[in-house]
Symmetry: C2
Subunit: 221 residues, 2 copies
DNA sequence: AAATAAGCGGGGAGCCTCTCCCCGTTTAAC
DNA sequence: GTTAAACGGGGAGAGGCTCCCCGCTTATTT
C-alpha cells in the first residue's frame, strides 16, 4: 500500500532489470555481426553463444526470428542515418559529403542488409517505416544538395545510390577476406566518379526512391 | 568376336546413351537457374524436379554437390569468356566493347557466381584453372586494349572489373523483382562512367588480377 | 524385330540440425 | 534480507535433406 496508484495494484512495469537491458543490447550486437558474416538465417544458438547468453534469453527477447532481424535492421539504419546527417553537417563540399557518407556506410556494412530482404521479416512494420523515412530524408538531403550545386548528376535518385552501395559492399559468403574492404572502397570510388556531374552517359530507366524499392522488391517467384 | 579389338573384350566404353547426355545437360541448366535464384545449397531434389529427371539421375551424374557447382561455374565462365571475345571482335570502339561485355555479363547473371565462393567447391580443380585463365585472358584483352587507347583509366585491373560487376549484378535473395534488371544496368552504366578515362579521382590500393582474388578470397574465419 | 543392358524414377529410411520448452539456479532490485 | 524476475543449459520433438534400393523403361546392337 505504500506506493501503488489507485487503479493498478499489480500493473507496475517497474523498469526492466539492468542486466536484461545489457543482454538485449549484446544480443543485437552479436546478431548484427553474425548476420553480416553468415546471413540472417544463422542458428539462434550460435547467436546466443556469441552474445554470451543462454538461448532461452534470446528466445525471451525475440520470440520470432523476424523480431531479431528487424531489430538489427533498425539499429543499422539508425547508424547510417546518423552518418548521413553528420556528413551533411560537417562537410562543406556537397560531393565530398556524399563521398564521405558512402564510404562510411560501407564501413558500417550496409551491404549486409541485402540478405535480410529474403522475406523473413515484415517490411511494413511501423518502426521500420519510420526509420526508413528518416534515412531516406537524410540521404535525400545529401543528394539534393549535391545535385543543386551541380556536382552530382541529376538523373539518379536515393534508391540508385543506396542499392548500388549496398550491392558493392555486400559481404561475400563464407569468406572473411582480409583485403576485401580495400576492394570495396576502390569500387565505391569508381562508382562515385560515375555519379559526378557532368554525366558521361545517358542512363536507362528512371531514378528511384527507397519507396519504389520497398514496393518492387517483394515479388516472390 | 565380330568387332572387338584385340586387347579390350569388355572394356568398350561404347559412348554414353543419347538421353543420358541430354539429361546431364538439362541438369546443368536447371542447376544454373536454381543457383541464381536460391543459391548453391538448394536441395538436390528441387534441382532434379526442375530438370525433369529423378533425383537418382542427378546423384548418378554428380555424386557430390561440389561436382555440380563446379560444372555450373564452368559453363557460366565459358559463356562469359565467349561474350568477352565476341565484344572485342565486333566492337570497333574499345570502350564500347567494354560496355557491351559488362552489360552482357550481367544478363548472363555473372553475379550468381558470388554465392558459389562459399567454399563448397574446389577452387584449384584443373578444369577450373584452365577456364579461369581463358576468361582472364579474354577480359584482360578488353581492358588492355581500352587502356592502351586511352579510353579506360589505367589504375584498374581485371579483378576490379569482375568483382564490381559481379557484386552489382548479384541477385537479391528470395526476390524475383521485375524491375531489378533495369536497376542493375543503370548501376553498371554509372560504374562504367567512373571507369572512363580521364580518371576523376585517385583510387586507394592497387589494381587486382583474378589470380589475386582466388588467392585472397579463401581465408575463412 | 528381338535381345540386352544401361539408364531411369520415385519412394522411403536414416540422419542431422534447428527450434523451443522446462526447471533448478542466479542476481538485480527494493 | 527477501522477493521475483531473469538466466542458462540440456534435451525432446519436428522437419528437411541426403542417398540408396529396385522394378521399369528405352536406346542400342545384331
Amino acid at each position: 500500500m505504500t506506493s501503488t496508484p489507485d487503479t493498478a495494484p499489480v500493473r507496475r512495469v517497474p523498469r526492466p532489470r539492468a542486466d536484461a537491458l545489457r543482454n538485449r543490447e549484446r544480443i543485437v550486437t552479436a546478431a548484427r555481426e553474425m548476420f553480416v558474416e553468415f546471413g540472417p538465417q544463422v542458428p539462434y544458438d550460435e547467436v546466443a553463444r556469441r552474445a554470451g547468453v543462454g538461448n532461452a534469453t534470446l528466445y525471451r527477447n525475440f520470440p520470432e526470428r523476424a523480431d531479431l532481424v528487424r531489430e538489427v535492421v533498425l539499429s543499422l539504419m539508425a547508424r547510417v542515418t546518423e552518418l548521413a546527417e553528420r556528413a551533411a553537417e560537417e562537410e562543406a563540399d556537397t560531393f565530398a559529403a556524399l563521398r564521405r557518407f558512402t564510404h562510411a556506410a560501407a564501413d558500417e556494412r550496409i551491404g549486409a542488409l541485402c540478405p535480410m530482404l529474403d522475406g523473413a521479416f515484415d517490411k511494413d512494420h511501423p518502426d521500420l517505416t519510420v526509420e526508413r523515412e528518416r534515412l531516406e530524408e537524410a540521404v535525400q538531403g545529401l543528394v539534393e544538395r549535391a545535385q543543386h550545386a551541380g556536382r552530382l548528376r541529376s538523373d539518379i535518385g536515393v534508391g540508385d545510390l543506396m542499392v548500388a552501395v549496398s550491392q558493392l559492399t555486400r559481404p561475400l559468403p563464407g569468406t572473411a577476406c582480409v583485403n576485401f574492404d580495400q576492394f570495396v572502397h576502390r569500387h565505391l570510388q569508381l562508382f562515385l566518379d560515375g555519379l559526378e556531374a557532368p554525366a558521361r552517359s545517358e542512363l536507362p530507366g528512371t531514378a528511384a526512391t527507397l519507396e519504389d524499392l520497398r514496393r518492387d522488391s517483394c515479388r516472390r517467384s
